[in-house]
């Protein structure tokens, strides 16, 4: 399509159906990754016999938010992250809103440096993510301690960060495939 004045009126008779179908399709594509994450969070909160699944959930969400904030922020808009954080807190019986706040901060900071991060090699991006995850977990620990008016032991936060760092490469491989399948050549 040639560049045209965006404020010019569209011809409804000609464009309505394709635009509607296209929009529905685009919406579905945008909702799929977020839906997968919510589904995994809800399913993994059931006892599966795996140890430390409760620590895995926040780590998984931190890694997911970071990945999509760097590579396709449209999939992880701020309201979606807010909802995801709230679900995580409700399911995990953490003080409500703390995950939402820290995840939004992670998203915001990542978004600021997005174009620089996209140019990094996988190794460096992983290192950057490690620091981001650690800071996010420590912030969560700090906020939880503040709200509970009691200093909590820092080990769980480090453990959570370590898990996030550990599962990031696996998730990155998986999400890169999802990203390609949904938005690869021929879709955009």
């Amino acid at each position: 399509m040639a560049f045209s004045d965006p404020s010019a009126p569209h011809d409804p008779g000609f464009t309505r159906r394709p635009v509607f179908v296209h929009r529905l399709d685009a919406l579905a594509r945008r909702l799929v990754p977020g839906g997968i994450i919510v589904l995994i969070v809800l399913v993994l909160s059931a006892p599966s016999g795996l140890p430390e699944v409760t620590s895995l959930l926040p780590s998984f969400v931190i890694a997911s938010v970071f990945f999509w904030s760097v590579w396709r922020p449209a999939i992880m808009p701020a309201p979606g992250i807010l909802a995801l954080g709230l679900i995580l807190d409700l399911v995990g019986f953490a003080p409500l809103g703390i995950s939402a706040l820290t995840l939004l901060l992670l998203h915001g900071v990542t978004l600021q440096f997005r174009y620089g991060l996209m140019r990094l090699s996988f190794m460096f991006l992983w290192i950057v993510f490690s620091f981001s995850a650690l800071l996010t977990c420590l912030l969560q620990l700090l906020l939880t301690s503040l709200l509970g008016l009691a200093l909590l032991p820092p080990q769980p936060a480090f453990f959570e960060a370590a898990l996030a760092v550990g599962i990031y490469p696996l998730l990155a491989v998986f999400y890169t495939r999802v990203n390609r399948a949904l938005h690869g050549p021929g879709h955009e």
Binding site: P6, S7, L42, V43, S45, A46, P47, S48, G49, V53, T54, S55, P58, P77, A78, P79, I81, L82, G85, L86, I87, L90, V91, G92, F93, A94, P95, L96, G97, I98, A100, L101, L104, L105, H107, G108, L111, Q140, L143, T144, L147, L152, P153, P156, A157, E160
Partner: protein, 300 residues
């Protein structure tokens, strides 16, 4: 609706700060109105209960199968152990029978007022509800099954936690190794009492015991009857010193691996004290009398 690109970009830039503000507002609301958050939590838990039960079922079958497989490799040793244990237990069975008989006779002689039997329901653990810093589980039974806040949760071998939040089809059980859990206990051999405090390890610590009456290694720990709804004498575990001067309780039921819980309602056994025990009834003052020096209604 045609909106100019500049306005749209400005709005898009505002989305993140706006959401951050919402998150902060939610944190503050959660602090001001914990009940609201609790209701939201149990609402979500109620919705999720059927889904989780579906997931939990095969997971439990799988863990049973693994256990069976492991057992199959040591059948002979297991058999020998069981035979020995059976023999010991048969001895204990006779002891228990004669003790029950004796107890019955003594109670009859004393005109003992029988305590009402506690009612209980059994629920499956459907989710870990502890989060990063807590130790709690969610079970698939709630107020619809007669579970209330403060009910007592017993695993296979002993006391394991208390119900802290209830939904219609789910309830949250705070386990004894959560840092919030502080249970008064009685030590059977030394007759001391102490507070069992969760410290996020599988073995809760013993604190606040008398300094001239230290817990003895290996003695049984049972619940003390000092708090409401928790009757005295429920088995908890045994004392173990991990360091000199640092006794912990090794629970009979490990809080790390629980799949089924019995939730007991001991409310019926709770006795209401008589009103104003030992207090002198207040004398109603007549209009002509001088004001009492102990009067609470004076304006001085």
């Amino acid at each position: 609706m045609p909106v100019s690109i500049q306005i749209r970009q400005a709005l898009e830039r505002l989305v993140l700060p706006f959401n951050l503000l919402i998150a902060i507002a939610i944190i503050l609301i959660g602090q001001a109105e914990p009940r609201l958050v609790q209701a939201a939590r149990m609402f979500l838990a109620d919705i999720m209960t059927p889904v989780r039960s579906i997931v939990a079922e095969p997971a439990m079958q799988f863990s049973f199968a693994v256990k069976d497989l492991r057992g199959a490799t040591q059948l002979a040793a297991e058999n020998a152990r069981l035979r020995a244990e059976n023999e010991t237990l048969r001895g204990w069975y006779d002891v228990a029978l004669s003790l029950a008989q004796e107890n019955e006779t003594l109670k009859t002689n004393l005109h003992w007022i029988p305590e009402s039997e506690p009612s209980f329901v059994t629920g499956r653990v459907i989710a870990d509800a502890g989060g990063l810093y807590g130790h709690a589980v969610l079970i698939g039974a709630g107020t619809d099954s007669g579970i209330h806040d403060g009910n007592i949760a017993l695993a296979a071998d002993g006391f394991i936690g208390r119900v802290t939040e209830t939904g219609h089809h789910s309830a949250r059980v705070l386990l004894i190794n959560d840092t919030e859990s502080k249970i008064p206990v009685t030590l059977e051999a030394s007759h001391g009492s102490a507070i069992m405090t969760g410290d996020r390890t599988p073995t809760p610590r013993l604190m606040y015991y008398a300094q001239d009456n230290h817990p003895i290694e290996g003695e049984r720990v049972v619940t003390g009857g000092q708090i409401d709804l928790l009757p005295a004498g429920l088995p908890v575990g045994t004392v173990h010193y991990i360091q000199p001067g640092k006794p912990v309780v090794v629970p009979f039921s490990s809080p790390d691996h629980i799949s089924i819980l019995r939730i007991f309602n001991f409310t019926t056994t709770h006795t209401e004290p008589p009103e104003a025990p030992g207090r002198i009834p207040q004398i109603r003052r007549r209009p002509g009398m001088p004001p009492s020096p102990f009067s609470m209604t004076g304006n001085g």
